[in-house]
């Protein structure tokens, strides 16, 4: 590599432009690369979120930070269930943004749901988790309806045939963001059956993100909440427009 080329040209203007921090996709990066990026974000005074980090890699990163960069290690956190890392203080919840409910068809969908929850928490959004509301036992979902009416946005994660968001969007009027999960075998292995079921849904107004993309669903929800907050603020005399 030409020596003057930095490892990563971070998009530090993203918060300014979009109201979002730049998340780092950790799956194809090694502990060295992640540590370097954490350092650069720390220097820029920006909160860091690294997704898709295995437990082994997370431990390596943590050890390294403790030994070499204790000032970063202090603000470092390994979110095991969400398979993610954060570095820097997470913001406190902003009630003006409202609540996002994250639903799961089964326990196998939990890592994706946790990733969505963490990504929203990094932006001050309050979330709740509703597990095991798969449509094969429909009563479990129907029992949760009153609670779900409190959400401004619903994120529904499901593998197998992925019918949960379809049933949900037929029952409730809020935005429903469907996340196909790569849980299953045979024709549902890899999550494509769930993805196609969600895209082909007969329920009106479902929108879909890539398979296992809990982070993307969170950012789609955040765009809605930010617009909503901006519009509400614009509605009142003193509010500064959001974008």
């Amino acid at each position: 590599m030409n020596p003057s080329e930095p490892l990563a040209r971070l998009d530090l203007g993203r918060r300014q432009r979009l109201g979002m921090i730049e998340a780092i996709w950790g799956e194809t990066k090694d502990a060295d690369q992640i540590t370097t990026i954490l350092d650069r974000l720390h220097q820029a005074g920006e909160l860091a979120l690294v997704t898709r980090v295995s437990a082994e890699k997370a431990i390596k990163v943590e050890e390294r930070l403790r030994l070499e960069q204790p000032q970063i290690a202090a603000g470092f956190e390994h979110h095991r269930q969400a398979r993610a890392l954060t570095s820097g203080a997470l913001p406190s919840a902003d009630p003006a943004l409202g609540l996002v409910q994250v639903l799961c068809g089964g326990t196998s969908d939990l890592p994706v749901a946790h990733e969505a929850q963490l990504a929203l928490r990094c932006h001050g959004v309050t979330t709740e988790l509703v597990v095991d509301v798969g449509v094969a036992g429909l009563h479990r979902l129907l029992e949760q309806l009153p609670r779900l009416r409190n959400a401004r946005v619903l994120i529904a994660c499901a593998g197998m045939e992925g019918a949960l968001p379809t049933v949900l969007a037929g029952l409730l009027p809020q935005p429903v963001i469907a996340v196909p999960v790569s849980v299953g075998y045979g024709v549902s292995a890899g999550g494509v059956a769930a993805l196609h079921g969600m895209l082909a849904s007969c329920a009106p107004g479902l929108s879909v993100v890539n398979i296992d993309n809990g982070y993307g669903a969170a950012m789609a929800a955040l765009r809605i909440l930010l617009t909503l907050r901006g519009a509400a603020a614009a509605d009142r005399p003193s509010a500064a427009p959001r974008c």
Copy 2:
């Protein structure tokens, strides 16, 4: 072709062996070929069922029979909604076989449902049709549950994301035969999304046939009903075993 080779070597032993008549798949056969087969089945004294026949082709076959083979034309019937032909007297309903309910997600699934109904009727089975119980308006399905409990077998036809049989099989204990329908566009065009959704279903014990295969679903139901009737008969002193 060697002159001694007949056009079609019909499987006239199928009723004896399996309790089913041989159905003729009409899609790739022309009016000539269909007429010849109807003649051969007529001579063998066997009821004929020809599926997947366009309205145009059906009219051609009918005209030809009227002109050339009036004795067959008398027993000929064009079932427009089922896109099928029959020749010969349909059997009267056998109450010992029980009832099959055929469900449709939407009106676009009707031709497949009608094919299933007709194929069962050709074997003396009583059916009922339940339309527009797609899961995007769940209440429509839930209202039908009491009526559906009367069926011995449920056949559920659905296109798009194909979630109907999944929801159904989570609610009722009978055999559910799922028929994906080639209705939809984008990822659901051709019915593969519905097929995969049904195979990947989280509901236990769903079984699936090929896309648009109303006839196949009917025959799978018939195998169940025949076994059931046979078993019931075997249970009583005088019954002759079915197979």
Copy 3:
């Protein structure tokens, strides 16, 4: 069919439940079926929207209505560019809902964009159309940015490689609903390359609907606008909650 079975079991409670009218997918229905459904919705006093209707079929429906049901024909409209029909008075625009911008990569994406616009107009939403902002001539999109900032939701339609929503979502903070369009040939025929490009987007928070699903994108936008209006209303003393 059993005589008591209606042609279509319409979901007339959808407006109550979800704030949306039930749209009819016209592609697999013939002029007879559409006319019957228009009649039933007319009797129920509900606005009708029928999508994916060819020009030929639309003319047949219109002629039939004029002859047989002049009271419906009066409120009937054929939206040729959107390939859709409406029956009944379209609502006036509700400024509280805000503006949706609908963008197109090229003129071939127009029918899908028009469908989205019409579906929103049926629910009182104001829209604007921005054509020919494909990313191969980037300046055309960049010039439109100031205008695009006025929208509460952006719907971006694109065929071929489908990169438009990715570039857009990197530049603007609002919700971006991506609609892949079945325009292209070779690997992009049918719109799957665009769909996959949108789902795989490196831009954060893009959400996606099925190929050519202008109606679905509109309903996803509507869910956002309704929630936003509901939240704004809830924020003030007198507002009645929407759901």
Copy 4:
């Protein structure tokens, strides 16, 4: 996760509703999650069946139960060939349900066949196994025909080209449930060639489940047997209807 959220919202009403126990898909759950679920089912007094558990994971679960929950360990069993766990007393065979024959094309299909047998045994169904009746040596299947006539339902597992259920369904009248097996390489790797061959079968009335879904085939068979037993019972004065 919000602390009040249970790990898994089990569908304990499934036996009541469908006549089936809820099976746990073990593939994506770790030993901790499985142990917790076994505990909850034990407390509910319900038989537990966990499928797709590797030998290593099974040993971990067993060790844990022995140390921490000896009262569950007493009723725990690892079914190595079926790659499954059960906890609680298996019911005794119910002769009124009748016999299911499970056929395999080759020895590689055995794990799937064993899973089907175990799932049926958990519901009191008697099964027999017929191995190595692949159609490349047709005489091996033909020799078994007399024995196969005793079954009420036939489950046929096959990988490669998956022709076994097609040949079988052409010879015997009972319900045939086809299970494609992910055995093969090249075009048959993953089981899709077998799946498609079974769905496309020219034999009438074959029904199909997902690749490797021995459990699903068992439940489809159970639905048939329960309906049959219910119908037989309904036929006699004193029987309580099943559903």
Copy 5:
């Protein structure tokens, strides 16, 4: 086009090199192009075989030849069932090449079988056709076994699940060339299910050609017969060299 460029650079040395004539694939050529090629082959004194020609196109070619090139029209023949044209005298059968049996699962496979027969006849090979030996009625195939033992090569054409060549190759020792046929719907539409079933076959030594490629199967058979005749000749004193 540069004027000196001929329409088609025919491979007139193919008979010399491979023992085969160059067949013309007519599907994407218009009547003009076919007529020109027939003329060039006529001038070269070579037999012409044009495959995949629709009835309409064949009639156009024939009319044109009659008007403009009566000397070619004299030797022209339209083989309607094989969807092919020949021009020039077909060779008489060469008994030293032996017999090829062409089998069909159903009547829908006939055009492919006829193409194979015609292509072999153009090279002096005797063929027989065996129709309707699909494996759903296995007895029909088993009855033909004595007759099939006379063939040197077996060509088996089948659509749907394509199991015929698998069963055949398990019963007989000759070379079996499997031809998948694009007959079917749903997962078997286009012939891919049959193709994959044949490639994945558990029967040893099946070899496969492209979907609907009756011509290709014929040429694979011809390569075998020519090698056989050459080897037999080489075995005797007077034999002419092989290629």
Copy 6:
């Protein structure tokens, strides 16, 4: 399993019926299962060929045989390059069968080529191997043409784009059996690009087997050689017909 069920119902009549031994596909069988099968074939006095056996599994089988069944171990051989095992004396070469040339595009195709060679050697066929004749350096193939003319059958193994058999079949008249190899990355990963290239070949009379199926190619070649030997024998007074 029911205790009376044997592990494997071997097809010991295959040699009688087809002139081939039953090969055992070792990929999904463990060392125990392979050892048991070797024992059963040893008892039946039949040569055993086990394909797709990893080096580790082969060593386990060998150790086990040495300890427990020294009489089998004596005739056991591990063919590392072919990833296969044999047990029992390999037959001596039968010159009446003639020569098979096995060609490889590159060294990565060698395991598949070695499997084909070994499978032919188990049936007394002489083979030669021609490596690195990929078409990107065409001269390497053209140099081998004189040598290749000696073969009765050509087996061509190639990965990547798989063009070798196409070029070969355009140059030589013998039967060419094409074996796609799962060597490559991106679109050629898994061998599907090579498979499709071979099936779609513009060269006449290529026949194809499944990806990596060296054994299958060998058996297809053997069927040709056996028929040829049988025909040659039939040609002379004293020869006993082969089938």
Copy 7:
């Protein structure tokens, strides 16, 4: 549509930016839309190239121009073989750009080759066409090698297995742009087998465009020629840099 929105926002700066005119993809545009675009380009004084126009549509456009816009009709040309339209004077050939040879496997590839030739001619590039050099008759290609050495860029169009560019790139050092053509049936239908074969090629340095994309291949060649001319000019004192 909002009235101020133009039909098409043409990228008139493309020639300035890239040295290319904007080509119009005519496949999804009707005669009205094409006429409007021709008018706008005419007003801008820019040469127009419209690709993928059927003969019927071309005639409609031409008639319309003659009646309504005779000043455009004068410079209008319908290139039937290339399925394209031009409006405005084509530039004279620029010898500094050098020669491009366009090769075809067979006559079915001609429309794609002609499109490439026309698109280059619109930019002043000289081309030659070399037809029927498919690799099944290798000598036909080898004979053309001396002539092909004169080209600066080679464009190779091929359907079926698409091996032509692989063989070509192994023989000659120039840039080879491979164009898969949607000619074939079965696995090669639609051109995907050819596309994958070209991408997977074992020949070094082949680059590939979308299926049937003659225009794209021409523009890839043009980029090379422009860079080459620019570099040559830069090499001499007086040359103005190209970009």
Copy 8:
């Protein structure tokens, strides 16, 4: 194997014929095979480039060379970032060839970019690397435009939706070679979404190589540079023609 068969028939004439060395694809070769090939190339006095070598395999090869062939070890180099090996002196940069810029969407694309750089360096071409210019933060790419104008060829590597080369080719006139990278998950796993996005690009004149094929992109660039250098030379009196 026949003993006289060499391990690998290297294409040592490739430099003469094409101006390129033969690269060895190391992925499926073991350390033994690679060592043997390095030895053979060393004996032929040719530079060796082995791509796709894991760090573990590289270390094995290096150790072996040090122990057994110190004369080769001296010129051996392991390029860890490029996952490649070279043996022999790399040529010095030839300024007449010009500059190639290699762009990456993100750091995950680096191994592919490094492979391209190394392959060009083996042929005397100077390259520069431009990292993290993904289109989600468009300003990062726009800032690099002045620098990119210096390149004669642009190689753009991108995973996910692969939009980078599309945006790039809309902005700059040079040849753009697009390399899809197998970075992503869900629909972009394996790189097919990026590949299709690049092939379907609406930007004119993009050409594409196989997924992850950095080497292939380098060779496509080299063909351009060699032709350019040859043409420039031909333009001056004394230059010897390149091919």
